[in-house]
Structure formats: structure tokens, C-alpha cells
Symmetry: C2
Subunit: 461 residues, 2 copies
């Protein structure tokens, strides 16, 4: 493990000279606010919190930190679920809340250039008047920089892709203070190595994103919603395969297990039976297209033995049908007032979905664990929500988490579909990547020889 | 520049031991067959041609070559247009023609695992019975390995993405003989660094692809075609922006300039006036969707002042309308029996398309050069086809090529949208990538310290 130095008063004056006195803090309140994310990992304090306002400042801070061997942890808005932005080695916490501007809207190019600290919901509110939006949506109002660093995804990835599919060009500050541009505003590029995607998803361990040009898509004119119940997980998954195979191009294709369906039903206006459910959404330019499409979806669901089928193209009705799914997390928390929740994230090829879910059901039954399954089935991504209280049920939840990750890897899947590695998934990197992990380490050493960038994340120390 | 060793008789016996005597050749015929691609770059002979049959053989050859400092150039089927697979430093030419099998079709996962030497047209012929296809289509029957190494694209990229968007997992042989896996069969993955996309498009300079799992999509059930003429390049490009902004999601959106339209018209059944034209294609699951969509396209084209508009959902009529576009290269060659052709490739943000095309028109007029423009306008990608004869018109074509690349870079574009860097675009890497080129070089040194992998390509020597 690399050894680091502490932040001294001399460092503080030099950092102040770089970012100005308004943009540096050692107050306990700021330290505490940036010591933990939305995961259950314990708080770890940075020594100083910086709020840079320009890419040049970010680069100069990194140059200083690199020479002084001080760790730097970048911070969006703290919505990570795997400790991705917790400053576990202290040092400098670099918040991007003051680099939150839209730099330029390229409406004709379906692109926007932004600073990393802008929230994707805030960005989309601005873009609405151009009839465009940035599709990845992880739920919370995560920053674009955090989403790119993490390769965040969400419910609409089945149609629009993850964060990595919706970015064209970035400015990145390297550990030694160089500022480079990667990618191109040209949507096609076969020129040189794809450094863009090397930095996307690297969680700030190879460089820090200081600006990004994003791909946008037209706001859908017409939307429809479907909620259907199935007699078994298998028939639900067969429906997922058939809907995707039909060419209908769903914009969301979500799975909710029987236990979760009952809980949602009890707390929400929508009536769901104790069966596996699929929630679907379709986007189209013509309402007739939606109606024709819904007819095809109904036929597919019937053929797969659906127990119930509700569909609508009406906006209010669509929102009502999806309300329970969109608010599933709050509903779950409300239903368990005395519990904390661990939300685990794995993904497998869709053909392995029934086996993965059967395994989770087996663990629940054998170990007497409460767990709710909710997943982006169109992508083979599943979240197991594990309620726990400190002590025994925590250990049980952690053991279940471990066993489910190992099962997903065994099924040809990944330890994380969209939450990133952070601290929580580091221990699975060797199993998942084998010899490729050595290549990742070699690239890390090449780009960050002193290991100052978000240490302790992604790669095992 | 790295210095290399020649292939000795001792090397030949060791190579024979690895690949067996059936799969090694030093015959002049085999050397000649692998000495040049479809570009105008001169033939450069390898010293030995290998036809490995397993990934393990590829890895063992690399290990030997790395220790002996012998260059290795991978070869698909020689359809490159920038000298990407020409063995300019001699050494070993590694052909993948005997690693051309489908390893496994994962139909429910919309995936197929293949060896790198399979042609994409041959692959799609096999996949047809599953109702699935691999969408990138560069025209020629390029191998999947070559397409991935090059990040090839083609006319349907506007809807389905380039090669890099249609691959999930690869096995790669590294310079030192390690075999690693990168990516995941899970379509979502936020685990570790994205090495998959680092190798894709690296043209065999960082590692050699020995197996790939590709993403597939359902074969479209209904297709329509549109051919429309416009009074100006600007109005054609405004139409491109409007069609994309409408959410119609075209499967092809091609631009043909006035000169090319006349030439195509003279040699083909379709009647095209001397105006800029757009060729479009749409895919849908319902015929009604196509009809509704075509009505929207017609309205957009009318609004942009289209001079003519032809549309069809009939298969035979669609093929007739598109025939000239699909056969534009052969038509051009036929029309200039005494010429060679240099096909240059750049891409810009679509908003810069009119300025780029105006610049090409200006060069044509000022320098009295024949040139035909044809482009994947939906992606901002343009090909300028420059006929030449050795001597004066060759120099003029090369100078035009250089100036157009510099103009594209100046407009925020790229030196190559889909043909790759190869030998031809190496000299633009510093201008296009700036400081990021140093990072590319550092990664090259990390993964291939002796520089044996396809030397002279992608990075300036």
C-alpha cells in the first residue's frame, strides 16, 4: 500500500493560493458532509475540502498533491452506494459543487458541454426547452461528473444506454497536473486509442473529469406504460426476451419480485398481486405506433401466460401505474421504519436471470432473510434490497450479498452493473477480471504512479 | 524507432512447432497476398505468414516474437483503406482466416461469440435463422476481428452504433503472450477499467483479438426507403438535423453531393437530378409505423424545400431506390476506367457539415480537381472520393486530402470517422489529440514495451 502524507499548514496556504480562500474549508461541518455517501460504509474524514471553480485549479491542486503525496478524492453530490467517494485515506476532498454550469448547448448536434458538478435532473430541466434530454437516470440527482466516473445507468438504459454510451468528449486532469482532452465532438471517431472510455467508469482513480460533452436525444413525444403479472420468474424473463426480440425497443423493462409487489401494493394506489411483475415503458413519435406496439406486447404477455395485463398511453394513468416502481425505495424504507437497507447490485446475461433469482429465493428461504428483488431486467441487472439492523441481521445481509455476487460471477455476470466498485466490490475484482486485473494495475501505475487518485477504490490495495 | 530482428530459420522452426507445418508459409504467393490492402499504399512484404488456429497459438507466437523482437502484424481479409494491416517492418504476418468459426450463439441473450476471422456477412448469413444480426456494415466482407480492431462503422451506425458499440467481451493476446478477457457478457458492467474499448480501435497495436462476443439485434421486419433532392447542402443538412430531432430514429441517413448524384444517375436505373441528395432508411416492427413515419419525413423535407421526394415501403422498390447508393463505389470506378481512387474519411459535428462541404467544393473549383462526396450524414461522417493517375493528379489528390483533414480537425472533427489511422492518418494524431497522445504512447509502452505489435500504425514513430 502506498504511504501518504498529511495536509500541513503549508499545504493549506498553497491550496488557498490555488482555489482562493472562498473555496477551501477545514470546518467540521464540511468535513462531515463529505465523509460518507448513501452506502452503509462508515464516515471517514478528509483533512481539507476544496471547491475548485475551474479546470486549471483542479489540475494545479493535483500537481501539488502528487508532489506532496497527498490523496485526492473527487466528490459529486454523495449519492454513491458503494463508498465510491469516501476519502478513506484522508487528504483532500475535492467537491465539484461550484463547477456546475452548462458551458454550451450544441442543439443542432444533439450535444451539450457541461462542467462535472451539474446534477443530471437540473441539466435536463434546462435542456427541456430545446426538446432534448440526457437519458441516463440513476434515480437520485447525481452529478454528471459522478455519473460518468461511475458509469451510472438506471431504468432507461435498455433503450438509451448507460453513461458511457452517452458521452463524446471530456477534459480530464491527470495526477501530475496535465489537462488533456479525450474523445471527440464527432459522434464517429476511429482515431487513436479510446481514452474516453478508459476514464469513464474509473471512479476518479486514473484522472478527474473537469468537463464533458454529452450526447442528447429528443424528448419522446408519446409514451406508454405496461404492468403485467406472471405465474413465475421464468415466464417473466421469457417475456423480457420476447419483447426485446420483437424489435419493440422498450425504454424501460423492469422486474419486481412477488414479495416486493405485495409491499408496493400495500403502500401505493396500484393493486399488484403476489407474483413476479414486469413494468414496461415505450417511447414513440406517433400515438398510433404506441397502440400498435401495445397490441404486440399484449400478445406476447398472453402467450407467456401473464396473469394480469394493464396498459395505457394516457399520461396520468401511466404515471399512476409506474408510481409504485418509481417510489419503490421510499416505500420499502417506510415499510421498515426500524431497518437500514443494503442495496446490492449485480448483472448477468438475461438467460441467467431465472437461475440468479432462484438462487436469491433459495438463500431467503434457507437463511430466513428478508430481501426484495427489483431489477432492470432488460439489461440483466438486478438489485437485491436487504434490510438489516446492526448486529446479526447485518452479518446475514453481508453474507447474502457476498454469495449473490459470487453466483452472478459464476453465471458469467459482473459484480456491479451500475453502482461501481467503490470500496464494496474491490474484493471481487480478481475473480471477475482474472489476468486483466494486472493490466488495470499497470495502467493505474502508468497514469498515477504515486497512487494519489481516490486510493482504495476499484483496485485492491 | 524501435529496431527489430529478422525472422531466422531457427525462428521458423519454433513457429512451425507452435502452429504446425500446415499453418505457416514463406511462399511468395502468400507473402504477396498479405503485402497490401485496398489502399494505394505500396506493397510491403512480411517474412513469414502464419495461419494460427487457436488463441493459444496466437499467444505463443507473440511470446516468441516479443522475446526475439520480431514485429507481428495481424490480418483479417485485407479490406483496410489506410494501410492498417500492411506489415511495413516485415516480420510475422498473422492471418486469421483459419480462426473463422462461430463459437456459440446465445440467442436469448442477443449475443454471439465468434473467432476473429469470420466475415461479418458470413456471420449474418448464419444468424438469419435466429432472426438476429450484427449491425455494423463497412461494405466489404471485412472480418469481425478487423472491424473491431479498426472500429469499423458504415451506413447503419446512425441507429445501431459502430463496432465499438456492438461488442461486449473479448479475449485478447498481449505482446508478452498473456491471454486475458476484457468486458463482460453482462450488457451492463461498471466493474473495473474499460479495457474492452481500449483494445477496440487500437488496430492490433496493444494486443490481438482472439475471440469476441458481439451484441445482436432483431432483424427488422419492415423497412422503408426515402430519396430526396435539395436545393443546397445547407437545406439537406437541416433536414438531417430535423429528421434526427423528430425522434424517427433513421437506420441510415446518407448524403450524396450533386456531382455524385449525376454520375450515379447516368450509370444506374434511378433518376437523380444535379442536386445534393439524402438517402434514408427506416426500420420498424409495424408497417403502419413506417407509413406514419414517412408522412413525417415528407413534411420535414417539404419544409426544408426539397426539390424531389420519393418514398417506399415496398421491398423491390426500396432496393431499386438504394441500388445506386449501395453500388456507388463500383459505379464511380466504372465511370473512370483509367483512374485509381483515394477514398478519404473524416467526420465532424453535424452542424459543421455545410462548412466542411463548402470547403471541399472550394478546393475542387480552385484547384480543378475531380472529387465526389458521399457521406454518412446522420453521423457527420464524409468520404471524399478522389480519382487520380500516378504523377500530377496524385499529388493534387494528396494535397486535397491533407487540407480536408486539417479543415475537419479545425471544425472540431476527427481525422478518421471509420477507416482508422493505419499508416495514412498517423501524422494527424498530434494535432487531433494534443496532450492525450502522450497518454496513448505511455499506454503503448506499458502494454507493448518492445513495440512489436503492428509497428508504424496509429502512433507516430
Amino acid at each position: 500500500m502506498t504511504s501518504f502524507n498529511h495536509v500541513t499548514s503549508e499545504h493549506l496556504s498553497r491550496l488557498t493560493a490555488i482555489v482562493t480562500a472562498d473555496n477551501i474549508s477545514t470546518s467540521q461541518a464540511d468535513i462531515d458532509l463529505h465523509a460518507r455517501d448513501q452506502s452503509f460504509f462508515e464516515a471517514r474524514p478528509a483533512e481539507v475540502v476544496l471547491f475548485p471553480t475551474t479546470a486549471q485549479q483542479v489540475a494545479e491542486v493535483l500537481k501539488l498533491a502528487n508532489e506532496a503525496r497527498i490523496p485526492v478524492t473527487p466528490w459529486g453530490v454523495g449519492t454513491g452506494l458503494e463508498g465510491n467517494a469516501i476519502p478513506i485515506h484522508g487528504g483532500i476532498l475535492m467537491s465539484f459543487e461550484r463547477m456546475n454550469k452548462i458551458v454550451e448547448v450544441h442543439a443542432d448536434d444533439f450535444q451539450v458541454t457541461v462542467q462535472p458538478g451539474i446534477g443530471h435532473q437540473d441539466l435536463n430541466a434546462e435542456l427541456a426547452r430545446y426538446g432534448l434530454f440526457f437519458p441516463p437516470d440513476p434515480g437520485a440527482n447525481a452529478t454528471v461528473g459522478g455519473m460518468l466516473a461511475n458509469n451510472a445507468a438506471g431504468i432507461r438504459t435498455v433503450k438509451y444506454g448507460a453513461s458511457k454510451d452517452n458521452v463524446l468528449r471530456m477534459q480530464v486532469a491527470l495526477a501530475d497536473g496535465r489537462l488533456i482532452h479525450v474523445g471527440s465532438r464527432s459522434v464517429k471517431q476511429s482515431s487513436g486509442y479510446d481514452l474516453l472510455h478508459l476514464f469513464v467508469g474509473s471512479e476518479g482513480t486514473l484522472g478527474i473529469i473537469t468537463e464533458a460533452t454529452l450526447k442528447l436525444v429528443p424528448v419522446p413525444v408519446h409514451m406508454s406504460a405496461v404492468v403485467a403479472a406472471f405465474p413465475s420468474v421464468e415466464s417473466a424473463v421469457e417475456t423480457v426476451v420476447a419483447v426485446r426480440g420483437s424489435g419493440l425497443d422498450p425504454a424501460a423493462l423492469e422486474f419486481v419480485d412477488a414479495a416486493h409487489a405485495v409491499m408496493l401494493s400495500q403502500s401505493d394506489g396500484v393493486d399488484l398481486s403476489e407474483h413476479p411483475h414486469l413494468f414496461m415503458e415505450f417511447h414513440a413519435v406517433h400515438e398510433t405506433v404506441l397502440n400498435d406496439g401495445l397490441e404486440m406486447v399484449r400478445e406476447i404477455c398472453d402467450e407467456m401466460g401473464a396473469i394480469s395485463f394493464r396498459a395505457t398511453t394516457d399520461t396520468a394513468e401511466r404515471k399512476r401505474l409506474w408510481h409504485a416502481r418509481h417510489h419503490s425505495y421510499e416505500i420499502m424504507v417506510r415499510s421498515h421504519p426500524d431497518k437500514q437497507f443494503f442495496i446490492m447490485d449485480v448483472a448477468v446475461p438475461i438467460s441467467a436471470y431465472p437461475e440468479l433469482i432462484a438462487y436469491v429465493e433459495q438463500i431467503k428461504a434457507e437463511r430466513n432473510i428478508a430481501a426484495y428483488l427489483i431489477g432492470h431486467a432488460g439489461d440483466g441487472n438486478i438489485h437485491v434490497e436487504l434490510p438489516f439492523t446492526p448486529g446479526d441481521s447485518y452479518e446475514k445481509a453481508m453474507r447474502a450479498n457476498h454469495d449473490i455476487v459470487m453466483k452472478a460471477l459464476d453465471l458469467g455476470g459482473t459484480a456491479t452493473g451500475e453502482h461501481g466498485v467503490g470500496m464494496g466490490k474491490v474484493k471481487y475484482m480478481a475473480v471477475e477480471h482474472g489476468g486483466a486485473l494486472d493490466v488495470m494495475r499497470a495502467i493505474k501505475r502508468t497514469l498515477d504512479p504515486n497512487g494519489i487518485l481516490n486510493p482504495g477504490k476499484v483496485l485492491p490495495e
